[in-house]
């Protein structure tokens, strides 16, 4: 049975996915035109990000990786301040000191975007430790990829979280690509979730391109973590449909495989489903498109007109 979300929430998830896609496509265009540096996009992985983040409570915390636009925007980050950060402007969330690869937003509980693959796994246990010592039932969601699951710190992190009963939802976005190398070259197994049992932890895999399935699985996992205080691993099985970073001609990608996954585009899937089940009407869809288009134009205008940091910022914020 395919899980179904309440209609309003379902439309909201569709809109957020479309916002993420539009944002990434605008980044691709900006990079191609030389107006800013290339980024690591999350195109194809929108359902995996939005389905989980929309299942979080406002007091839950997030650590993520270099494909973090979906997590940031789903959490409520303003597109214009994310874009300003990517463009190195002082109005960005990190005053332009992060760029696209390490954006954190303290006010939204986004503790870290790590561009060191696995960095998020090493800090997540400490963030979760702070929650467990405060005796809240808030949870840390830590997003990483199949590449990070091949780092040694993946083992260290899951092991410690299990031993210490940390409130941590490990979300492995298995997007089949580890930079320029296909997962099949670096792992003998197809899935990451079975690794959880080696640490005495429950692991589940969900169709990462079905946002309602992801959302339902995340809600169930979060409820279990809050009830038991034990960590869990949720694997969202998905696909990175663009290159490692922009520009990338993807000449190394198997055309058939790419075509198969593009045919299961998470946004198309959700839109067609909502239309077919009459949970959205074409008018509503049109309004979403307009809002997304306006948001992108507004973000670009804001970021482009924002000042760069002054040179004296070079050595501020190094020490507290």
């Amino acid at each position: 049975m395919i899980p179904r979300t309440e209609d309003g929430a379902a439309r909201s998830m569709l809109e957020t996915m479309m916002l993420v896609r539009a944002f990434e496509e605008q980044n691709v265009a900006l990079a191609a035109s030389g107006k800013m540096g290339g980024t690591c996009t999350s195109v194809g992985q929108e359902a995996a990000a939005v389905g989980v983040v929309k299942a979080l409570r406002s007091d839950d915390l997030i650590l993520t990786n270099h494909r973090s636009v979906g997590h940031l925007l789903a959490r409520g980050a303003e597109p214009r301040r994310v874009l300003a950060e990517i463009m190195g402007r002082s109005t960005g969330y990190c005053k332009g000191k992060s760029g696209s690869l390490h954006i954190s937003v303290k006010e939204l509980g986004v503790i870290l975007t790590s561009t060191i693959v696995g960095g998020e796994l090493s800090l997540a246990t400490g963030v979760a430790l702070s929650l467990s010592m405060k005796k809240t039932d808030a949870v840390v969601a830590c997003f990483f990829g199949d590449g990070a699951a091949c780092e040694g710190v993946f083992h260290e992190s899951l092991n410690l979280a299990a031993v210490w009963n940390l409130p941590l939802l490990y979300v492995c976005e298995n997007n089949q690509w580890q930079a320029f190398v296909h997962r099949k070259e670096t792992m003998l197994s197809d899935r990451i979730a079975p690794r959880a049992s080696a640490y005495g932890m429950e692991g589940v895999t969900v169709d990462g391109n079905d946002v309602e399935a992801v959302h339902a699985a995340a809600l169930a996992a979060l409820a279990k973590i809050r009830a038991t205080g034990k960590p869990m691993l949720l694997e969202t099985y998905t696909y990175r449909t663009r290159g490692h970073y922009e520009p990338d001609d993807q000449s190394y990608v198997d055309r058939d495989e790419l075509a198969q996954w593009r045919a299961r585009d998470p946004i198309e899937l959700m839109r067609e489903r909502l239309l077919a089940e009459r949970r959205i009407v074409p008018d509503q869809l049109e309004h979403i498109r307009e809002r997304v288009t306006d948001a992108m134009a507004e973000a670009l205008a804001f970021a482009s007109n924002s000042p760069f940091p002054v040179a004296s910022e070079l050595t501020t914020d190094v020490y507290a």
Binding site: K97, S104, G119, G126, V153, A320
Partner: protein
């Protein structure tokens, strides 16, 4: 004033800081096993053992620090820090800057190092210069029990990641520690012995070798001023420069290998800011560009010795223009 060892002074500082601030927690390899008194007083939630996994220990500390806790982690021996470079250098050291100042990382990383125990190169490697080179980190290396306590307390209260390196052999050395609480601020060197003819800059165990040499030099009519850096970074430039301007001669002594090390930095400081005062070329006495040996005989050869300091100081004074 009671006499206690450097190791006892470290334990005292930890207990005092955990008593003062409930956000101070401690974990690492064997921490709860070795520090039963801390477990007893502060409970198993605040004092924890961990797996033998330096990366996740340091990363967990950084994550907890970002959330306002003040973790102190014990990674045992300094070479083991190579397993935690990512978490210490890339995360704890850089993320305050990268986040535009949104997060701070008030944490202390403790590790032992130094020759004298014959443990060899994979337990003994004075790496202070590596971490001093990494932005965002502070580096502390005490030479006395009083400083071990006072600097560790300052490190726990500092809002930045602080590397606290203690010398293995020095751990058993006794020293007077005042009954009342005393903080030794980070970034303040100490003139351990005043003198007129030559400035000897050192820290950690080598300081005591320098003091012994200075004592003998006095009998040879050479008046040596001995400075204990105490904190490697931030470097107390003014104390070093004031002394160099007074004596006109500078020698730096440390156990870590000399190439690209703390001595090179201090020498460059004198060259850049007190060149006119220098009466002779700067001298460094350091460990060699070789892994730390295990044989006791080779260990003695590895460490700067008082005789070497004596000879170098006399030559330095004699060679002056």
């Amino acid at each position: 004033m009671p006499e206690i060892t450097v190791d006892e002074a470290i334990g005292l500082a930890l207990a005092e800081e955990m008593r003062r601030d409930a956000n101070v927690i401690m974990f690492g390899e064997g921490v709860a096993t070795k520090r039963r008194d801390l477990v007893q007083e502060f409970g198993a939630l605040r004092v924890r053992n961990t797996p033998l996994a330096e990366g996740i220990i340091a990363g967990t500390a950084a994550g907890a620090a970002a959330m306002g806790l003040r973790p102190v982690v014990d990674l045992l021996f300094t070479p083991f820090l190579c397993f935690a470079m990512e978490e210490i250098v890339n995360s704890a050291g850089k993320l305050r800057y990268i986040s535009g100042g949104q997060f701070s990382f008030p944490m202390v990383v403790m590790a032992m190092t130094g020759s004298g125990w014959g443990v060899g190169a994979q337990h003994n490697h004075n790496l202070e210069a590596w971490f001093a080179h990494a932005p965002g980190l502070k580096v502390v290396m005490p030479a006395t029990a009083e400083d071990a306590r006072g600097l560790l307390k300052a490190a726990v209260r500092d809002d930045n990641p602080v590397m606290f390196f203690s010398d293995m052999t020095l751990g058993f050395q006794k020293g007077e520690v005042p009954l009342e609480e005393r903080i030794v601020p980070l970034g303040q060197a100490c003139v351990r012995r005043a003198g007129r003819d030559v400035t000897i800059v050192s820290y950690s165990k080598s300081l005591h070798t320098c003091l012994a040499a200075a004592e003998k030099l006095e009998g040879m009519n050479v008046s040596a001023e001995v400075i204990d850096l105490r904190t490697i970074k931030p470097l107390d430039e003014s104390t070093v420069l004031a002394s160099v301007r007074k004596t006109g001669r500078l020698m730096i002594v440390h156990e870590a290998s000399g190439l690209f090390g703390v001595g090179a930095e201090v020498a460059a400081l004198a060259a850049e800011k007190a060149f006119g005062a220098l009466k002779a070329p700067v001298v460094r006495l350091t460990g060699p560009d070789a892994p730390a040996p295990a044989s006791p005989a080779l260990e003695q050869a590895y460490m700067p010795q008082a005789e070497g300091i004596l000879a170098a100081a006399r030559k330095l004074v004699g060679a002056s223009r």
